[in-house]
Amino acid sequence: MIEIKKLSKYYGKSRGIIDLDLKVEQGEVFGFIGPNGAGKSTTIRLLLSLIYPTSGTAYINGMDCIHESKKLKHILGYVPSEVNYYDDMKVIDLFHYSSKFYNKDCAARIENISGRLGLDTTKKINDLSYGNKKKVAIVQALLHEPEVLIFDEPTSGLDPLIQNEFFEILKEEKKKGTTILFSSHILSEVQKVCDRVAIIKDGKILNIEQIETLRKNKFRQVEIYYNGNISIGEYQTMKIKNLSETENTLSFLYTGNIHQLLIKLAEEKGIENISIEEPSLEDIFIHYYSERGGIK
């Protein structure tokens, strides 16, 4: 379980995160999404005690992230967004070095995960591509079977097949009851695995939602292709967001009653085609942004 209370971090006068409150339940896969510079990495760095908070507290499985950091890291696995390891080492040497910190024999686990990700452990780290270094990061985070996993954009650099295998591994971890904090700016991958998601912007959490709620709410992405006159002005008075009009196409995110929309559409004579879809998380994301401070 991860519990963050009123956590703030300032770098001099510049903002890192402000009064962040967050609770990730035991065994939950929690998405953490936001644009670059929103404060995702700052939060993760605070959890890992790479940096210290200006104020507030953070606990993982009841252990203080600052004062019980060593004890806590026995049960923590971390995949950083940028992967840097000792160039003079072979992959397997790094894994052995990593295992020794936990006083655990992790050989079988290393072999299993490396095999699934297609990682050649006999190579020197210096000779690896970015994608392969990312695989090294994943294996070294998982090898000691941690109770809590923190991923900071883990899939960047991985090809689609390996990404799928990674998500499979993640699902297995979830089944085992591992708590996972999954930071990303790719919403579709958060959608794939997470139970809940926090949207962060400018160092503050805009909203925390169940992925299912986000999907099941009545938001619909509507596209109207018309070839005559339609009453565009009337749509603007309805519960819509992100209205855009391009070459005989009207598109918007509809947040109101779907029945009312259908009645309105039935009245239109100039409609040539229509598409009503479940919105992508991107569209919902834009909706939250525009609602709470605008898109910058």
Binding site: L50, K70, P80, Y97, F101
Partner: protein, 267 residues
């Protein structure tokens, strides 16, 4: 912590061996010229006349009996060995901690179950270990060379003092540069600064010995704390400087622990 210490020992072994072999070889070459110098020294005045006066004064050549191999070592090799030994010591100590940040591997290290204090301890212990080993092995080789090339017997006590003096200079520089590397983490920058510290203080020691008016510079240079005249000719070690040295080492390491455990690692 043991895991990190073992890793550092393995990682830094090769450079340790190279530096040791090179400095032992330089020392051997210097000793090879002892016999000829010793012959010349029978006419000391003629030999000293070959050198500029300031040079003679700077290296205290007028104080040494060049027929004694320990005095020969003290006047010819000691400063070169101590200077190069200091460069080895600062290269090791200045990079051992900062490299984790400059190469951005610190994120991996800090995510493992190890405290910041343990990181500092393992890294500094490795520096101490190699500095001690370097000085012990160098001193043994030095002793053996002296036994091989000597024409007269030399005193064991001044030999031990000069060996201790070299070690203390190395460990002072290593500790100061270790502290600096907590704040200056870019490899190029910290190496430049560390070399600067060694060479500037070496320059201070020369100034202090050449010019009476500038003798206060000796307080700023570890090279002056353990000069060959005291160690070999007078067979003493200055107690006040010893206290200053120990204080410098303790303060540097104390501040390293304090600062490193509080710093935000943003690499």
């Amino acid at each position: 912590m043991k895991n990190l210490l073992v890793r550092e020992i393995k990682k830094n072994f090769k450079s340790f061996l190279i530096w040791l072999i090179i400095l032992v070889a330089i020392n051997a070459c210097m000793f090879a010229a002892f016999e000829a110098t010793s012959e010349m020294a029978k006419n000391t005045e003629a030999m000293l006349a070959q050198y500029p006066e300031a040079f003679v004064k700077a290296l205290s050549l007028d104080k040494f009996d060049m027929t004694n191999i320990l005095h020969y070592y003290a006047s010819r090799s000691y400063i070169i060995i101590t200077l190069f030994g200091s460069i080895y010591a600062v290269m090791l100590s200045a990079c051992i901690l900062s490299k984790e940040e400059s190469e951005r591997t610190v994120e991996f290290l800090v995510s493992k179950p190890i405290t910041r204090h343990e990181i500092v301890s393992a890294k500094y212990l490795c520096v101490v270990l190699y500095t001690v080993l370097f000085n012990v092995l160098f001193s043994i080789s030095n002793f053996l060379f002296m036994q091989i090339f000597k024409t007269n017997d030399f005193g064991i006590e001044p030999f031990l003092l000069i060996s201790l003096g070299g070690f203390l200079i190395h460990i002072i520089f290593a500790s100061i540069c270790f502290l600096l590397s907590v704040f200056i983490t870019k490899t190029k920058a910290i190496i430049s600064v560390s070399f600067g510290v060694v060479f500037v203080t070496y320059f201070f020691s020369i100034l202090a010995s050449v010019e009476e008016k500038m003798s206060f510079f000796k307080y700023l240079s570890p090279f002056s704390y353990y000069n060959t005249e005291d160690l070999v000719v007078n067979s003493t070690i200055n107690g006040s400087y010893l206290i200053v040295s120990i204080a410098l080492i303790i303060i540097s390491i104390g501040l390293s622990y304090f600062s490193y455990s509080r710093k935000n690692i943003t690499a």
